[in-house]
């Protein structure tokens, strides 16, 4: 491997590209060439760097100097000062105050912040996502090589089981178990499907994983295919994720050229091929059976289970459906072993979790931390505290289908087990932090509005339950609610949770339940006193 004196990384998430990251990148290359530094300096586009306040962002190693927002006109000065003369280009640096995500991690190595733990996002923001050689240089496809040359499918299943990896889509189902169900199921043909239809509002971790490190998903899918005996894979990518789709198509093309995909991979006699299916704007297609229906070219209405996809999935064949983040863990587990993976996180939920922090904190963005960190720590350390003048009231986890966490549960370790025991859900990894100015009735109303629109309408508890709950919440917010509404909401929440056909309806009741459990007084104030304590609801119906 060639060694460089300096590494220059240019952010290239969708937003940076719009703001001219491509031009900045080209200009840096030009300037580097002009000064004859091309043998000493490597320049790459690296996807999302986890910080959006100063993009396009340019990071220069080994100093870990962060510049941003960088304009094309700034480039000659930057290159001359930093890369040619070797000193920090004054005036172009991004403000040091707000550190998050990737940058927080980089700074942590310089001792300014407690370190995140990166497994899934280890390479995102470091490698050029459009270049397979860069991935290979960073140990990419080694896990695949090890799998195909040294391991039997049973060995792979065994190591995934032992690692204790759980599905990261929100439910936390043991991944190893799912894999062995598919491996055991009889079928002429089997499929591996990667669920990248990330439509939970507030969640964008999967997009950043794919945009930053698309090959890791391909590698994991090939390994999964080998383990369960599948020969074909589908990646169902949300339609809105145009850049992620382009990156994946490019990655698949390159993997084929390098012989990681196709027939007889690594002379092992194992064949595997991957297709991309673009979603068409339906939240429900994130539900695995609806997703399969959609790939088959039908309306995305969830199937009735059993049979589960593990025995009868895509076109009736045994199908493994895994979330992007789940798969992204696989290569690292194969490479470093189950023991290593178990050393991260908590005993019941090993590994790391990627969160997106949003709302009234000082720093919003993406972090990857070990399972079991508490909400209080996330807010204090990575969110850099609540915004000035506001105090923590509640957090809403996992997009829409998570829980509303009150301040009293701030110190619950965030892992699947502890959350389930407390009676709340971790969800997909979005953490919307709300302050005292947030009204719970209004928040629940937004969530139910979302479910009401996105409900596919196939089963009654969900279709009618979401509609009725929304109407009731709306009348409470208008100041026309009655105390009986509280009973009705509780009943609707129970019925939706227990009777709905799929996860959408089952979780639609969660916000109602949490509001009733933790914020009943506030709802009652709307009804008894005709007052919205947070001053958000219109209360136009009050007399």
């Amino acid at each position: 491997m060639k060694t460089y004196r300096s590494l220059v990384l240019v952010s290239s998430d969708a937003r940076s590209l719009e703001l001219g990251a491509q031009q900045v990148f080209q200009k840096i290359q030009q300037e580097v060439n002009r000064l004859g530094l091309d043998e000493e300096v490597s320049v790459s586009m690296v996807g999302d760097v986890g910080r959006h306040d100063a993009i396009p962002m340019v990071i220069v190693y080994p100093e870990a100097a962060i510049y941003g927002p960088v304009k094309v006109e700034d480039v000659p000065f930057l290159v001359e000062e930093h890369l040619y003369k070797g000193r920090i280009a004054a005036g172009l640096q991004a403000s040091q105050r707000e550190l998050s995500g990737r940058i927080a991690w980089i700074s942590a190595r310089k001792g300014t912040l407690p370190a995140e733990k990166r497994v899934v996002l280890e390479r995102a923001g470091v490698i050029d996502p459009d270049n397979i050689e860069d991935y290979i240089l960073h140990d990419g496809y080694q896990a695949l090589g090890k799998t195909l040359s040294e391991m039997k499918p049973e060995d792979v299943l065994d190591i995934i089981k032992k690692s204790g990896l759980q599905g990261r889509g929100g439910a936390g189902f043991p991944t190893g178990m799912k894999w062995s169900f598919v491996a055991k199921a009889p079928g002429k043909k089997k499929y591996v499907v990667c669920n990248a239809d990330e439509s939970e509002p507030g969640t964008f971790k999967d997009r950043l994983i794919i945009e930053g490190d698309p090959h890791s998903i391909l590698e994991a899918m090939i390994i999964a295919g080998y383990a369960v005996g599948a020969t074909e894979g589908y990646i169902y990518v949300r339609g809105e994720y145009a850049l992620a789709q382009t990156r994946l198509r490019n990655a698949i093309q390159q993997a084929k050229e390098f012989g990681f995909l196709g027939n007889n991979i690594f002379d092992s006699g194992f064949d595997f091929d991957i297709h991309i299916h673009s979603g068409a704007g339906a939240y429900i297609c994130g539900e695995e059976t609806a997703l399969l229906e959609s790939i088959e070219g039908k309306r995305g209405e969830p199937r009735i289970r059993p049979p589960y996809p593990t025995t009868s999935g895509l076109w009736g064949m045994p199908t493994l459906v895994n979330n992007v983040e789940t798969l992204a863990n696989v290569p690292a587990i194969i490479q470093h072993g189950a023991e290593w993976y178990r050393s991260i996180g908590t005993p019941s939920s090993p590994g790391t979790k990627v969160y997106t922090i949003l709302g009234n904190v000082n720093v919003t963005g993406l972090i990857e931390v070990p399972m079991g960190i508490t909400l209080r720590e996330v807010i204090a350390i990575y969110g850099k505290g609540m915004k000035e003048g506001s105090s923590f009231k509640l957090a809403q986890t996992g997009g829409s289908s998570g829980s509303i966490i009150p301040a009293s549960l701030q110190d619950t370790p965030m892992d699947f087990d502890s959350f389930t025991k407390t009676g709340v859900a971790l969800g997909s990894g979005a953490l919307l932090i709300c302050d005292e100015e947030t009204c719970v009735v209004d928040l629940a109303k937004v969530l139910l509005q979302f479910f009401r629109v996105e409900s596919c309408g196939k089963c009654n508890p969900c279709r009618i339950g979401t509609e009725r709950s929304y109407t009731i919440l709306d009348s409470i917010s208008q100041g026309t609610g009655t105390l009986k509404d509280l009973e009705d909401l509780k009943m609707l929440s129970d019925k939706m949770t227990t009777l709905s056909n799929c996860g959408l309806g089952q979780t639609a009741g969660t916000p109602l339940r949490d509001v009733m459990n933790y914020f009943r007084a506030e709802v009652e104030a709307h009804i008894r006193l005709k007052v919205c304590p947070a001053g958000v609801c219109p209360m136009s119906g009050r007399h």
Partner: protein
């Protein structure tokens, strides 16, 4: 639809790499919308003919997904995000602004064909809330005033 037109659209679909497999229904609809701007009645006929299924079946699937438009789009496409994060930062205000300023509701096109407008659940850039997308470009941390400015820019462009 005449046989000639059916053959013509079949050749077009073949040229684009489609084979006529039923699983291609959604990709076909996406392709048609991309090349023709929206799913017209002729488009539905062409796709139904190509796959050998009824037009009703094509509508059944197409109408399920929010991506597909059945109305001719305007010159500029405006999306207002109403996801949780954007709602908290005033997304509804932005939707109302469109309604008051352009006099169109969710899913409609202005009579002069300048703008069409859609409310979406989440554009996936919640750290930038509230977000509006115009012609594929994301405008971050929006308020009513900024939105008016953005609309004005596009009206004259």
């Amino acid at each position: 639809m005449t046989v000639e037109r059916l053959i013509q659209s079949r050749d077009e679909f073949w040229a684009a790499g489609f084979t006529g497999d039923l699983a291609e229904l959604i990709p076909l609809l996406q392709y048609y919308q991309e090349t023709h701007g929206y799913i017209s009645p002729e488009g539905v006929e062409a796709i139904a003919g190509f796959l050998g299924i009824s037009e009703a079946r094509v509508y059944t699937v197409a109408s399920f997904y929010a991506q597909f438009r059945f109305q001719k789009p305007g010159k500029n496409h405006v999306f207002v995000c109403l996801g949780t994060a954007c709602h908290v930062q005033g997304g509804v205000d932005l939707a109302n602004e469109i309604h008051e300023h352009l006099h169109i509701r969710n899913g409609e096109t202005t009579p002069d064909g300048q703008f069409d407008f859609k409310e979406v659940a989440c554009l996936g850039c919640c750290a930038q809330a509230a977000v509006v997308e115009v012609n594929g470009k994301i405008y971050a941390k929006m308020n009513r005033e900024k939105l008016r400015k953005v609309l004005k820019e596009h009206q004259h462009a």
